[in-house]
């Protein structure tokens, strides 16, 4: 069966510091991968999606970037965090439109 992992689970970072969130998927090959951000209790904002290694589409211009160095690894990064980057970050893989989410990372920028 497929599983998706995210780490860290929670993170508190000062403004201006770098960021690296990691997502890995097991049990499937060449998945479509996604990064979302969610404000408290609300819907999902698509940040990046990838259909293959080094194939990444950005949906929202901002100070975040994504990379996919391996088939089942997806990384979200920032060189300098802003206060507005705080939120709940979710990674997901999909199959025929159905999305399967990781447990999420709660990021607080102070």
């Amino acid at each position: 069966s497929q599983t998706i992992h995210q780490w860290p689970a929670t993170l508190v970072q000062p403004v201006g510091s770098p960021l690296s969130l990691e997502c890995t998927v097991e049990g499937t090959s060449n998945p479509n991968l996604y990064w979302y951000r969610q404000a408290a209790g609300r819907g999902l904002q698509l940040l990046f999606y990838s259909i293959g290694i080094d194939q990444i589409s950005s949906e929202v211009p901002q100070n975040l970037s994504a990379s996919r160095p391996q088939d089942r690894q997806f990384i979200l990064s920032s060189k300098k965090l802003l206060l507005s980057d705080s939120g709940f970050y979710l990674c997901a893989w999909s199959w025929q439109g159905e999305q399967y989410f990781g447990p999420g990372t709660r990021l607080t920028v102070t």
Binding site: G41, G43, L90, Q96, G97, Q99, F101, G104
Partner: protein, 112 residues
């Protein structure tokens, strides 16, 4: 730009009551999914509907896809506190499964 709207935005009901939440769009979708999310966790897929007019039941939850595949509803019978959560609908555009569009969600609170 394809958008999904959900209503109501917030819903607070007593245990045992019935409720319906709605997901609407002006666009046609090849499929539509419903997810439930509990605080601090990722959304969990409840159901996928594909055919216009389709009705699917999952215990006390009934999902319907509109005939024109532009809208959907979720009906919960005899709501329980365990049904509390954020309900999200999401649609796959006709042209591609790559980008799924999410609605803003309905936050449901079932009071014991």
């Amino acid at each position: 730009t394809q958008l999904l709207e959900q209503s109501p935005q917030f819903l607070s009901i007593q245990e045992g009551e019935n409720l319906t939440v709605y997901c609407n769009s002006s666009s046609v979708f090849s499929s539509l999914q419903w997810y439930r999310q509990e605080p601090g966790e990722g959304p969990v897929l409840l159901v996928t509907v594909v055919t216009g007019g389709e009705v699917k039941k999952l215990k006390r939850l009934t999902f319907q896809f509109g005939d024109a595949r532009k809208d959907s509803s979720l009906h919960i019978t005899a709501a329980q506190p365990g049904d509390t959560g954020l309900y999200l609908c999401a649609g796959a555009p006709k042209t591609s499964y790559d980008k799924v569009i999410f609605g803003p969600g309905t936050s449901l609170s079932v009071i014991p």
